[in-house]
């Protein structure tokens, strides 16, 4: 057997390996990129849903900007209090966590409640239906019902109920606001989680006209306003408005007096 070629093979391969490893070591010193070690730590703590509500291209990008002090931690509405505290520790800043906000769908006009004005067979999306006379439902203020908000929700916190009205899971909802943007009728609003009483209607038509299209519409009858002596409820543009600062649930409950039952207590049971 030819042992010399064995020795040569080992030597030449070993030599080449050594040469290239030295080359790479030198190059890595020369071309070293300073990376903020905090970026990775922050990135792990962020929700990682890449929902984009902070205004940056995903969580990793946001983490870089946080570490570079170019953005505020409060720009991320999704981040929970626990994670926010840890990130604030890493960054060495104080946490300013506001009250958690959740989305709420301001419409009850599902199938069977709102009148149907047409058969719509076009693209099954709210934005699509908006371009074609606004879908099947007769109310031009309310939910269209094709679930664009369900599609955009990065946290699976919205589902359609059996009447075709989206329902927000107040536990899963992080308040990122993607659904608010997606809704072409602006029916979804963000509210602090402590708000429980809502007028679930956006119809500004006169009582007669709004009752004509939907049995759950606010008809602007002012019964709620009278029931609480004007503290907490006011009616403007044929639509009752709740003043969440003034209204307390210990006042007379207008929920019972409302003739169309459009004033609703939302989510008190599960998080009171």
């Amino acid at each position: 057997m030819n042992y010399t070629s064995l020795v040569y093979a080992v030597l030449s391969m070993g030599g080449m390996g050594l040469f290239f490893s030295i080359l790479i070591t030198l190059a890595s010193k020369k071309l070293h990129v300073e990376e903020d070690p905090r970026v990775e730590l922050i990135c792990d703590l962020l929700p990682g849903a890449n929902c984009g509500s902070c205004g940056y291209a995903g969580c990793a990008n946001f983490a870089e900007n946080l570490a570079g002090a170019k953005s505020q931690l409060s720009d991320c509405p999704v981040c929970g209090a626990e994670a926010a505290e840890k990130i604030a520790q890493i960054l060495g800043v104080d946490v300013e966590t506001g009250e958690r906000k959740v989305a709420i769908v301001m419409c009850q006009g599902g199938d069977g409640v709102v009148k149907k004005k047409a058969d719509y067979e076009g693209i099954q999306s709210c934005i699509g239906a908006t371009f074609v006379s606004g879908g099947e439902r007769a109310c031009s203020y309310g939910c269209i019902g094709y679930g664009d908000c369900v599609t955009v929700c990065p946290f699976d916190a919205i589902y359609m109920n059996d009447k075709g009205i989206p329902v927000v899971d107040r536990v899963k909802c992080t308040g990122c606001g993607n659904c608010v943007v997606a809704c072409p009728r602006n029916v979804i609003e963000l509210h602090p989680i402590s708000h429980h009483v809502f007028v679930l209607c956006r119809n500004k038509d006169s009582g007669k006209n709004s009752r004509a299209v939907c049995s759950a519409a606010c008809i602007g009858c002012r019964i709620c306003e009278k029931a609480v002596d004007g503290v907490g409820f006011t009616v403007e543009n044929n639509l009752a408005i709740v003043d969440h600062d003034k209204y307390t649930k210990y006042l007379v409950l207008p929920t019972e007096k409302c003739p169309t039952k459009c004033i609703v207590i939302v989510g008190e049971a599960d998080e009171a």
Binding site: S5, Y8, A9, S12, M13, M16, G17, F20, S21, L23, I24, A27, S28, L31, V33
Partner: protein, 191 residues
């Protein structure tokens, strides 16, 4: 001079690495969604190919031939490629972080791009001299870039096209790649 031109034309068009020799299909499909990352990928690959062909020619001539160790060609060329890709990776990260992020996993995967090993092995097979080897490596890279950029251009348009539901995604990409390969086959016999 004529010789060099023929090598160039042959590697870029007639024996295009991707579309005629079917080497380096992975990045060809993987990074061809948009033109600008495709172009960057092509340039990174060209750079690695050119350097690889120079270094592996030297290694083949002075180490492997000299010591009669031709059986180590594949192993040692892979060693060369792996090291060069490391260098390119560090270089790209240094000069352009967004480009580094855009290329993602496909940058280290240049290491396992068979087109590059193909260049190194072909230039030994074809017994090119040093200058010819460098030209050969460079033009193979240009050919790769050409193919991947054409593909990216078509796929950008394809986003807007009304493709039947079951052809969407990978299926239509394969069909397009096949059509492109057919077109490039038409150049065979040119040289």
């Amino acid at each position: 001079m004529v010789n060099i031109f023929i090598i160039f034309l042959s590697a870029v068009i007639v024996n295009n690495y991707v579309l005629v020799n079917f080497l380096g299909i992975c990045p060809f499909i993987g990074v061809s969604k948009k033109i600008s990352p495709a172009l960057s990928m092509g340039m990174a690959t060209t750079f690695v190919m050119t350097l690889t062909s120079a270094v592996s020619w030297l290694i083949n001539k002075y180490i492997l031939d000299g010591l009669n160790l031709q059986f180590l060609q594949t192993v040692s060329f892979i060693l060369v490629i792996a090291s060069l890709v490391q260098l390119v990776e560090m270089f790209v990260k240094k000069i352009s972080k967004p480009l580094y992020d855009a290329l993602g996993i496909f940058l280290p995967l240049i290491t396992t791009n068979c087109a590059i090993l193909g260049v190194a092995l072909f230039l030994v097979l074809k017994e090119y001299n040093f200058i010819e080897s460098i030209i050969f490596g460079f033009s193979a890279g240009v050919g790769f870039t050409l193919a991947i950029v054409i593909m990216a251009g078509i796929r950008e348009e394809l986003e807007l096209a009304d493709v039947p539901e079951y052809f969407k995604g990978a299926a239509i990409t394969m069909i397009v790649a096949g059509c492109l390969a057919l077109a490039f086959m038409g150049f065979s016999g040119l040289i």
